[in-house]
C-alpha cells in the first residue's frame, strides 16, 4: 500500500516515570495507513491514547517514538494542511460566526481581499446550514450550531486531512443525528480525508470506511481494522436496514465489551502489530440462526447498546 496518503509507523507515547516508578507506556507499535478520501474512525476506551494519536497528527502533541508521514512528508508541528474540529468547538467567543470563520480563512489565504474572504466563509456557513446566523456570537448559538461553526471553520481552510476529536460527544442524540447526516453529505461532496475519534458505534458505522479498534491502555495497540462493507451512500434512516449493519455493529460492541480488555493477555495467533488484521465482519455469515434480511426481528433482539465513555 504505497499509495497511502497518511502513514503512521511505530507510533508510541511514553510518559516518564513519576518518583522513580515505571514509565507509563500509553500506546506503542501503532501502525496504520489512510488512503486519500478515506474516512477512518478510531474506537477504544478512555485511556487508550486515541486523543493523543489525534493530537500528534494535529501537531499539538509529540509522540515519544515513531513517525507520521502525510503526503510523503513527515508531520512535525501543526499545519494548515490538517484541519481540526475540537470536541469543545473552541470558537472565539468575542467573534461572530462569520468572523470566526474569516479568521481561519485569512490564516490560510492572508492575501485575499475582505470580500473574497467573506464570500469564501459564507460558502461554508451555507454548507452547514447556518445561513442567517453569520452575525451571531457563539454564546447565542445552541451546542449543535456551535459545532457546525467548528466544522465549517475546519472545512473552510480546505485541509488535506480533517481531524475530529469526538465532535458530537457533547450533543444530544437528535442534534447529533442531523449533523452526522450533514457530515456524510459534505464528505461525499468534498472527498475529504477524515480521521475521527468516536465513542459511538453507530456513528462509526454511519460515517467511516474503516474503523480502527484500539485495545485498552496502557500498552494499547491496534487490535484490528474493521472494513465497513456497507455501500458508501449511507443515511441515518436506512443504514440499519442493510444486512451487514448488525454484523458489523455486533462485532464492534463485542470488541469494546470484552475483547478490548482481554486482548493483552490473549493475543491472537499470528497477530503482528505492523500489519493489524483487516476484518470484514459484514461479509461473514451470521453466527446465530436469525434469518438474513429479517431486520425487524434483529431490531428487537438488539437494543441500542450504549458504549461506556
Amino acid at each position: 500500500m504505497d499509495n497511502a496518503f497518511l502513514k503512521i509507523e511505530s507510533l508510541a507515547k511514553v510518559f516518564p516515570s513519576m518518583r522513580g516508578g515505571e514509565p507509563l507506556t500509553v500506546f506503542e507499535n501503532i501502525h496504520f495507513q489512510l488512503a486519500k478520501g478515506e474516512f477512518v474512525c478510531i474506537i477504544g476506551h478512555s485511556g487508550c491514547g486515541k486523543s493523543t494519536i489525534l493530537n500528534v497528527l494535529a501537531g499539538l502533541d509529540e509522540a515519544s517514538g515513531g513517525t507520521v508521514i502525510m503526503d510523503s512528508r513527515e508531520v512535525s508541528g501543526p499545519s494548515l494542511d490538517r484541519g481540526v474540529v475540537f470536541q469543545s468547538h473552541a470558537l472565539m467567543p468575542w467573534l461572530t460566526v462569520m468572523q470566526n470563520i474569516v479568521f481561519a480563512v485569512k490564516s490560510r489565504w492572508p492575501d485575499w481581499s475582505r470580500d473574497k474572504l467573506k464570500a469564501h466563509a459564507q460558502k461554508y456557513i451555507d454548507l452547514v446550514h447556518l445561513t442567517g446566523a453569520e452575525d451571531k456570537k457563539p454564546a447565542e448559538l445552541s451546542g449543535g450550531m456551535k459545532q457546525r461553526v467548528g466544522i465549517a471553520r475546519a472545512f473552510a481552510i480546505q485541509p488535506k486531512m480533517l481531524l475530529m476529536d469526538e465532535p458530537f460527544g457533547a450533543l444530544d442524540a437528535l442534534t447529533r443525528g442531523v449533523i452526522q447526516d450533514e457530515l456524510v453529505n459534505i464528505c461525499a461532496e468534498t472527498h475529504q480525508t477524515v480521521f475521527m475519534i468516536t465513542h459511538d458505534v453507530d456513528e462509526a458505522i454511519l460515517l467511516a470506511d474503516k474503523i480502527v479498534l484500539m485495545t485498552n491502555g496502557p500498552h494499547a495497540k491496534i487490535a484490528e481494522i474493521v472494513v465497513n462493507t456497507l455501500p458508501r451512500d449511507r443515511s441515518r434512516h436506512d443504514v440499519h436496514k442493510h444486512p451487514h449493519y448488525y454484523r458489523i455493529r455486533n462485532h464492534l460492541v463485542d470488541f469494546l465489551v470484552t475483547r478490548s480488555k482481554e486482548f493483552a493477555s490473549n493475543v491472537p495467533a499470528g497477530y503482528n502489530p505492523l500489519h493489524p488484521p483487516q476484518v470484514r465482519p459484514g461479509l461473514e455469515p451470521d453466527v446465530d440462526s436469525v434469518p438474513e434480511g429479517d431486520t425487524r426481528v434483529r431490531h428487537l433482539h438488539q437494543p441500542a447498546m450504549p458504549v461506556a465513555a
Partner: protein, 282 residues
C-alpha cells in the same frame, strides 16, 4: 421588574439623602449666641465668639455648602494667582497628572504583563520583585522621586505611575496566562503568526481581565493623587484641600471632598463602560 427595582432603589437613595441632609443641618444650626457678660466690651465679646456679632457655628451646614458649590461651579476656571484658582483648573491639574502617570504605567504594565503571562520563566523570575514592590505605599517613593527627578510635579506623576503599575501588571499577566488552551490550539493549527496571535487571540481573550486591572489602578491613582499633591503642593485638588484647610475655609474643603468623589465616580463609570465593550460571553 428591573425598572421597578431601579425606581425603588432610587426612592430609598433619595430618602437617605434627605435624612443625611437633615441631620447635617440640625447638627450645624448655630445655637443662640451666648450673651456677653455685663461689662465686657463688644469687641472683646466678638473675639471670644460671644455676643450679637457671632456669625455662625464653625462647621458649615448644607445650605452654606450649596452656596459655595454654586459660587465655585459658576466660575470654575478663574485664575487669580498661585493660591486662588478655580476648581476646574485644580481638578484639571490633578487629572492631567493621574492620566499621565496612569498611561505611562499602562505602557509598561501591559507589555510586561504579556511577557510574564506567556512565559512561566519570566513569571517566576519577576514574581519576587513584584511581591516586594507591590505592598510599598506609593507615597514612600516621594522623597526618592523628589531627589532624583528634582521636579515636584513630575514626582507626583511618578508616584501615580508606581501605584498604577501593580494592579495592571498582575491582572494582565493573569489574564494572558489564563487564555484558554483551546483558543491557543486553534491558533496553532491555523499557523497564526505570533503577532496576530497576540493581538487577535490573546489580547481579546484577556481584555476583560486587563480592563479590570486598569479600573483598579485608576481608582488607586485617584486616591493617591490627593495625598501626593498635599505633599508636593502648588496645584491640584490635593493642594487645594490642604490650602483651604490652612485658610480655615471648611466650606471649600467640603466642596473639594465632594468634587473628588464625583470625579472618581466618573472615572470609574468610564472604565465600566469600556469594560462592557470588551466583555464577551462564553
Amino acid at each position: 421588574m428591573t425598572k421597578s427595582l431601579w425606581m425603588r432603589s432610587s426612592a430609598v437613595s433619595l430618602l437617605i439623602l434627605v435624612v443625611l441632609l437633615f441631620f447635617w443641618h440640625a447638627a450645624t444650626v448655630p445655637g443662640p449666641a451666648a450673651s456677653a457678660p455685663a461689662g465686657m466690651s463688644d469687641e472683646y465679646a466678638a473675639m471670644m465668639g460671644m455676643g450679637a456679632a457671632t456669625p455662625k457655628a464653625g462647621m458649615p451646614g448644607p445650605a452654606d455648602i450649596a452656596v459655595t458649590v454654586w459660587e465655585k461651579l459658576s466660575d470654575p476656571f478663574y485664575d487669580n494667582g498661585p493660591n486662588d484658582k478655580g476648581i476646574g483648573i485644580q481638578l484639571g491639574f490633578s487629572l492631567a497628572r493621574v492620566l499621565a502617570g496612569f498611561f505611562l504605567a499602562a505602557l509598561v504594565a501591559i507589555p510586561l504583563g504579556f511577557v510574564i503571562g506567556m512565559s512561566p520563566v519570566m513569571r517566576g523570575a519577576l514574581d519576587p520583585f513584584i511581591q516586594v514592590m507591590k505592598p510599598i505605599s506609593p507615597l514612600a517613593w516621594m522623597p526618592l522621586a523628589l531627589y532624583t527627578i528634582k521636579d515636584s510635579s513630575l514626582s507626583a506623576i511618578f508616584v501615580i505611575f508606581i501605584c498604577s503599575l501593580w494592579p495592571m501588571l498582575i491582572n494582565t499577566a493573569h489574564g494572558v496566562a489564563s487564555v484558554k488552551r483551546e483558543w491557543l490550539n486553534v491558533a496553532l493549527t491555523l499557523e497564526v503568526t505570533p503577532l496576530r496571535k497576540a493581538f487577535q487571540v490573546i489580547l481579546p481573550a484577556a481584555a476583560p481581565t486587563i480592563l479590570t486591572g486598569m479600573r483598579i489602578s485608576m481608582g488607586i491613582a485617584w486616591l493617591v493623587i490627593v495625598a501626593a499633591e498635599m505633599l508636593v503642593g502648588g496645584t491640584g485638588i490635593g493642594y487645594f484641600v490642604w490650602n483651604e484647610w490652612n485658610n480655615l475655609s471648611l466650606n471649600n474643603v467640603i466642596f473639594a471632598i465632594l468634587s473628588i468623589g464625583v470625579v472618581g465616580m466618573a472615572l470609574d463609570l468610564m472604565f465600566g463602560w469600556v469594560s462592557r465593550l470588551v466583555a464577551y460571553r462564553e
